[in-house]
């Protein structure tokens, strides 16, 4: 492993992605978020397994073409109409739509998140009254879109669930706060700020909520170490969890 040329995730991933000949139906392009080397996560030892040369892209489910199936098409139509009423074309607000495992995800551009959220809440045919919070995900390999904020929403009226995902680059981690539309997201946005460093602009009091106020760093980011100390057990030393050899 040590004499191997380092390959940037995006480079290696895209290379392999473009050489892939089979893509799932309805998928336009592969969503590469990173690349995996070898069979084990720990890279400090020598390559005794022979699997060290393995390079595999990490591919998330790609965009879905219409028809989405179930009630998803009707809901997407409603969103499109409502956005058009507000002078916002669907293609401007929504980056892509992913239908995977029976769940629909709208990837919304961050500058249009507030308009999108109010459409979801206010349109009678949509009526997603409840936002079940926001969760951050850090994809260091997804260049320019490293930080994702994922909002699960629920409509009690129509008994439906929908997911909105917003991305922002690590260099400019700003996403508008939707607490003005969904006050429930107050603490959830604080939590996501605490753990990922995403700044929710317009939040009434964006402070840390779980970690102490003076804590350095944002612990749930992938570049933040887990921490831990080696433990001695019956004469042998067990390394902390993030330094143990693991299978990826």
């Amino acid at each position: 492993m040590s004499d191997q040329q380092p390959v940037s995730p995006a480079e290696a991933g895209l290379e392999i992605a473009s050489s892939a000949t089979t893509m799932p139906e309805g998928v336009r392009e592969l969503e590469v978020i990173g690349v995996r080397h070898g069979a084990f996560s720990a890279q400090d030892g020598g390559d005794t397994s022979g699997f060290g040369g393995l390079v595999a892209p990490i591919v998330m489910p790609g965009p879905t073409e219409r028809p989405y199936g179930e009630w998803f098409d009707a809901a997407a139509d409603e969103i499109e109409l409502a956005l058009a009423d507000r002078g916002l074309p669907m293609t401007t607000a929504v980056e892509k739509v992913v239908v995977d495992r029976g769940e629909i995800t709208f990837f919304v551009r961050r500058e249009h998140l507030l308009a999108f959220a109010s459409v979801l809440r206010d349109e009678p045919a949509l009526r997603f009254e409840m936002c079940m919070g926001v969760n951050g995900v850090h994809y260091p390999g997804d260049a320019g879109r490293e930080l994702h904020a994922v909002y699960p929403l629920q409509s009690v009226t129509h008994n439906r669930r929908i997911r909105v995902e917003v991305t922002c680059p690590d260099a400019d981690p700003r996403i508008p706060s939707i607490t003005s539309v969904y006050p429930a997201n107050d603490w959830h946005e604080r939590e996501t700020y605490d753990f990922f460093g995403i700044i929710f602009e317009g939040h009434p009091a964006l402070t840390r909520i779980e970690m102490p106020d003076d804590w350095p760093g944002h612990p749930q980011r992938k570049d933040y170490p887990l921490g831990g100390i080696p433990v001695e057990y019956k004469g042998a030393e067990v390394p902390p969890p993030d330094q143990r050899r693991a299978y990826t």
């Binding site: 978020i33 990173g34 995996r36 990490i58 591919v59 998330m60 489910p61 995977d100 495992r101 029976g102 769940e103 995800t105 009254e129 409840m130 936002c131 079940m132 919070g133 969760n135 951050g136 995900v137 850090h138 994922v150 699960p152 629920q154 009690v156 008994n159 669930r161 997911r163 969904y182 006050p183 429930a184 997201n185 107050d186 603490w187 959830h188 939590e191 840390r208 909520i209 779980e210 970690m211 102490p212 612990p219 749930q220 887990l226 969890p241 993030d242 693991a246 299978y247 990826t248």
Partner: protein, 458 residues
């Protein structure tokens, strides 16, 4: 006594400047005015408000306080006994469970999630496992018996959780008999948990693909024997409170939050149902075959702490009905998915020391089948790969919607797991319920939310 008297008689009152030698009771000037630290016995000296200014003090209640339902810190702005503003300080029980799970296999994750909301471990486990199974696309392959056992354990857990809600809620409002009764009946259920899983709490019993251990006929019979006693004692406990004038005086009309407030704040569970909306995920978006069980969703329309109490009482009765139905429909069969690439290979049995692996299984892998040993080793050390993607799976925990957002990058370990714990979200309503009320009502309001700080902070 005499010493105190003499001090009062001599008129020794700490006025203005506090003695410099008392390091625990200092006062200092800030941009917000003078800040006093009260060390006891010196209240009179600092409680006189400035002329023309209303007396407003900020009181830190908790995190170490017997009435704040765990390590919850309430920051109360008070004018006399009236609460002007309420803020919650949380994070005292943050243990980094979500981060830790990213460094363990999918199955090991169960051991972590069971420790989040420590009053409803089976709900945490089931929500997580349903999410993992959805990611794997094996939801349909979970054996019927495993699903029934999950329902059985969850409903027993709902009763034990509600019992603690009544017990601690009662204790916080001064009804100590309710506490001793509630905890006593909870023991009956914890005994069942111990019998079935080996542990009273944090059992890590529900695993991706099924459950860790089958339930024996003997155990089923003992659960059946326990139910009548549980029913009788639950009645005793609730009779203590239902028509209790003091209890009603403390809870009726207290902690008011209507439907609009609940919707805006994302409130679910008994709080939402106390506004009259019969929203229960077991009915609305059934999982684990809840659509095949007969039970009612109790609601009240009082929007107050008393209504929530009544709902919890009624829900316990409904849960007993579900437990009986689940026991009736337990058919012999596997309790782990047939897919050998996912199913946990180990079998457990009680050895001489009260714990341990099944001797038959150890004999098989150690002396009969090399392939079985390799398979066991691979699954236990490496785990299984979960196809890349993300899911959100939600179940109805005793406190409301317990949602789990799981992201997989195709590896043997979760890429990101986030729990949308109902307590975390519902605790946001403390201010809406408490502002303008008396301090004593804050306690009743928080007790009616029934937050579990292990779930709030994770």
């Amino acid at each position: 006594m005499t010493t105190d008297q003499s001090i009062a008689d001599e008129g020794i009152v700490y006025e203005g400047e506090l003695p410099a030698e008392d390091p625990y009771a200092l006062s200092y000037e800030t941009g917000q005015g003078t800040v006093y630290t009260v060390s006891g016995g010196d209240w009179d000296s600092i409680s006189s408000p400035d002329e023309g200014e209303r007396e407003r003090i900020v009181v830190n209640m908790g995190p170490q306080h017997p009435s704040t339902h765990g390590v919850l810190r309430l920051i109360l702005e008070l004018e006399g006994e009236t609460v002007i503003d309420t803020r919650c300080g949380i994070g005292y029980l943050h243990t980094g469970i979500e981060k830790n799970m990213e460094y363990r296999t999918w199955t090991q994750g169960v051991t972590f999630v069971t420790r989040m909301d420590y009053l409803s471990p089976f709900f945490n486990e089931t929500a997580y496992c349903l999410g993992v199974e959805k990611l794997l696309g094996v939801t349909d392959q979970i054996p019927e018996r495993a699903t029934t056992i999950r329902v059985l354990m969850m409903e027993l857990n709902r009763i034990s959780s509600h019992l603690v809600a009544l017990a601690t809620g009662g204790m916080e409002l001064g009804a100590l008999t309710a506490m001793t009764f509630g905890f006593r009946e909870r023991e009956l259920i914890l005994d069942i948990f111990e019998m079935v899983t080996g542990l009273r709490m944090n059992s890590a019993f529900v695993r991706p693909g099924g459950v860790a251990q089958d339930i024996t006929d003997d155990q089923v019979a003992r659960i059946r024997e326990t139910l009548p006693l549980l029913r009788k004692r639950m009645k005793d406990t609730t009779n203590l409170l239902v028509d209790n004038a003091i209890w009603m005086g403390r809870t009726v009309g207290v902690g008011y939050l209507d439907l609009a407030g609940c919707m805006a704040l994302g409130i679910t569970g008994p709080l939402l149902r106390s506004t009259g909306l019969p929203h229960d995920l077991r009915k609305a978006q059934p999982y684990c075959g809840y659509e095949t069980y007969e039970f009612a969703v109790p609601t009240e329309d009082t929007c107050d702490a008393y209504g929530r109490f009544l709902i919890r009482v009624a829900e316990m009765q409904e849960s007993i009905k579900i437990v009986e139905q689940a026991l009736d429909r337990l058919q012999p069969g596997p309790v782990m998915i047939a897919d050998k690439k996912i199913a946990w290979p180990a079998r457990l049995s009680i050895g001489g020391d009260g714990q341990g692996n099944s001797p038959e299984h150890i004999k098989e892998i150690m002396s009969q089948s090399m392939e079985a040993l390799i398979h066991h080793f691979k699954l236990v050390t490496e785990g299984f790969n979960v196809p890349a993607g993300q899911v959100y799976s939600a179940i109805e925990s005793p406190r409301g919607e317990l949602g789990v957002h799981i992201v997989s990058d195709g590896g043997t370990r979760p890429y990101r797991v986030h729990f949308r714990d109902a307590s975390f979200n519902n605790l946001q309503s403390t201010a809406a319920m408490s502002n303008g009320s008396m301090i004593s009502d804050v306690i009743a309001a928080v007790a009616s939310i029934d937050p579990v700080m292990g779930g709030v902070d994770r």
